[in-house]
């Protein structure tokens, strides 16, 4: 494989991994914040419905 092709494939894979990572952990943090909110309030917060 030429270095140019390798560089392109590597950059693409890495960007996909980094964006996927951001989405995955973004959702986990959001869910955690929602559960925290639910544990502190008497009414059911809206975010629980979308979990």
């Amino acid at each position: 494989m030429t270095t140019n092709t390798l560089g392109k494939i590597a950059a693409l894979c890495s960007v996909v991994i980094i964006i996927g990572w951001g989405i995955y952990w973004g959702v986990q943090v959001q869910d955690t914040m929602c559960l925290l909110e639910a544990s502190e309030s008497i009414d059911m917060p809206e975010c629980l419905e979308n979990m």
């Binding site: 390798l6 590597a10 950059a11 995955y24």
Partner: protein, 168 residues
């Protein structure tokens, strides 16, 4: 594909009986799991941070990558074997646990990415990163750094999801 039968088999095995009845042995295997993770992730972090020009910048990167390889494999062997033992105690919980599956997906991705992209890119690192002497046809430095960050992110997720199994 239904692979629940693997978990049912593990759950009914003698390994599972042993894991459930001997708390002392279980805690020792847990220690092996964590120590293997330290070995595995320690060596990975060393190589990736070297490529980001953060640690051991006076040592040629090829020397670091070459010398950490064996210890990465030893760490992987230790963590997979101890992981199977730990799994046998809670096999039926794991079969439907999303964090366990996220961890396994991350582990597979980490191993494939490490052996393919990371290894090919690092061996063609430019002189500004590698200090291996001049390369005839190097990969751009920013690509090497992007690969290092992506690789660190994958293993972070494997470790964090591993710990999350216990909380879920």
């Amino acid at each position: 594909m239904d692979i629940v039968f693997i978990f049912e088999w593990l759950d009914a095995s003698w390994l599972s009986d042993l894991a459930r009845t001997s708390a002392g042995l279980f805690s020792m295997v847990q220690a092996v799991h964590i120590l293997s993770m330290i070995m595995l992730c320690g060596m990975i972090i060393l190589g990736d941070l070297r490529m980001l020009n953060v640690v051991l910048t006076g040592v040629p990167s090829a020397v670091i990558i070459q010398n950490t390889k064996k210890w990465i494999y030893i760490g992987l062997a230790g963590i997979i074997l101890s992981g199977i033992y730990e799994s046998s105690a809670i096999a039926m919980k794991l079969a439907t646990n999303s964090f366990f599956w996220a961890k396994m997906a991350g582990l597979a991705m980490g191993i494939i990415f490490m052996l393919s992209v990371r290894s090919a890119v690092y061996s063609r690192a430019p002189e500004v990163i590698g200090s291996n002497g001049s390369q005839s046809d190097p990969v751009d430095a920013w690509v090497v750094k992007l690969v290092a960050v992506a690789h660190l992110f994958i293993w972070f997720s494997v470790a964090a999801n591993g710990r999350w199994i216990g909380f879920s």
